[in-house]
Subunit: 187 residues, 2 copies
């Protein structure tokens, strides 16, 4: 990726996330990136493709960030709770408006849109991740607990983005910890 293309992707990512995809025009993206529209279209081809690469980029960085942290965790339960910790830091640092995938989904209704697979794929991956993380702790009932954790986590992202519960991630983490304890005690 050329330096100009990187600047375009950075500007597009920031603007798409802050203002919404349809509310941001390619002219503005080009201007913010300090690039002409021709360069933008030479590198990305279309706005739709730029949207796809924006989401793919965020997805990739999120998974890398999460994977790196999980590798440093000792116990299985630590790994589960670390997901909430990383999410909290991620939100505080760069995502005051909630999950970019959820927000993008609100603007993209067409399931045949290439961005749709990225959005759905990340959520599916998160569900599988939670389920796999709790399997060593509760071999029977990992599916159930995994789903609950997924819903708690997703709800926390939304509540945080809506500013209706600023400590949403911390609360979700605490509730998750309690669920892990009772599940471990029962098995």
């Amino acid at each position: 990726m050329t330096p100009a293309a990187r600047r375009v992707l950075e500007a597009a990512g920031r603007l798409f996330y802050e203002r919404g995809i349809h509310a941001v025009g390619v002219d503005l993206i080009a201007a913010e990136a300090g690039v002409t529209k021709k360069t933008l279209y030479d590198r990305f081809g279309s706005k739709d493709q730029l949207v796809v690469e924006y989401l793919a980029d965020r997805d990739e960085r999120w998974r890398a960030c999460l994977d790196a942290r999980l590798d440093t965790c000792g116990s299985p339960s630590d790994r589960v709770l670390a997901v909430f910790d990383v999410s909290r830091e991620w939100m505080d640092a760069t995502s005051p408006r909630g999950c970019s995938m959820v927000n993008a989904h609100a603007e993209i209704d067409d399931p045949s849109h290439p961005a749709y697979a990225i959005i759905t794929g990340q959520k599916q991956w998160m569900l599988t991740l939670f389920t796999d993380l709790v399997r060593p702790l509760v071999p029977t009932g990992a599916d159930f607990l995994g789903r609950t954790l997924m819903l708690l986590h997703e709800g926390a992202l939304v509540a945080f983005g809506l500013r209706v519960l600023p400590g949403a991630l911390e609360h979700a983490r605490e509730q998750a910890e309690m669920l892990l304890r009772t599940a471990a005690a029962a098995s």
Copy 2:
């Protein structure tokens, strides 16, 4: 509200929800409502105002639908679980793409936008509702359990809308039932 205005609001609501607010133009809304643009502007003044009334209308109908059901419930725990039941029916009937408030929030970044208060207000109301509903069951710790239920519920709406967990509402209800049981047993 005049008959034409009602048709406009119905068409706008359907299109805004299905395709997103910014993706739908006033010309399309007027055409779908079988109304001229002049009538639309005579009744609503601007697209922004139409968006506000769209959200206010859905908010009002949702609260009325929920309140009506809650009145028919006997025990406090039935009332909590009824929220998930009503949500499930609401989603199945008219909202395959998740919560309209969350989706609208993805497209409206400005907190000074009049629609912002409606969005935040509904979520705040839901949080208070859950907290109040569980207070008779767990006088101490109603805040904590109320928040957890709110996150579970919100996460279920998102997961359902993303089609990543079709039975999200049912799962959330089942998990809520378990939480209510253990909370009641502990107190």
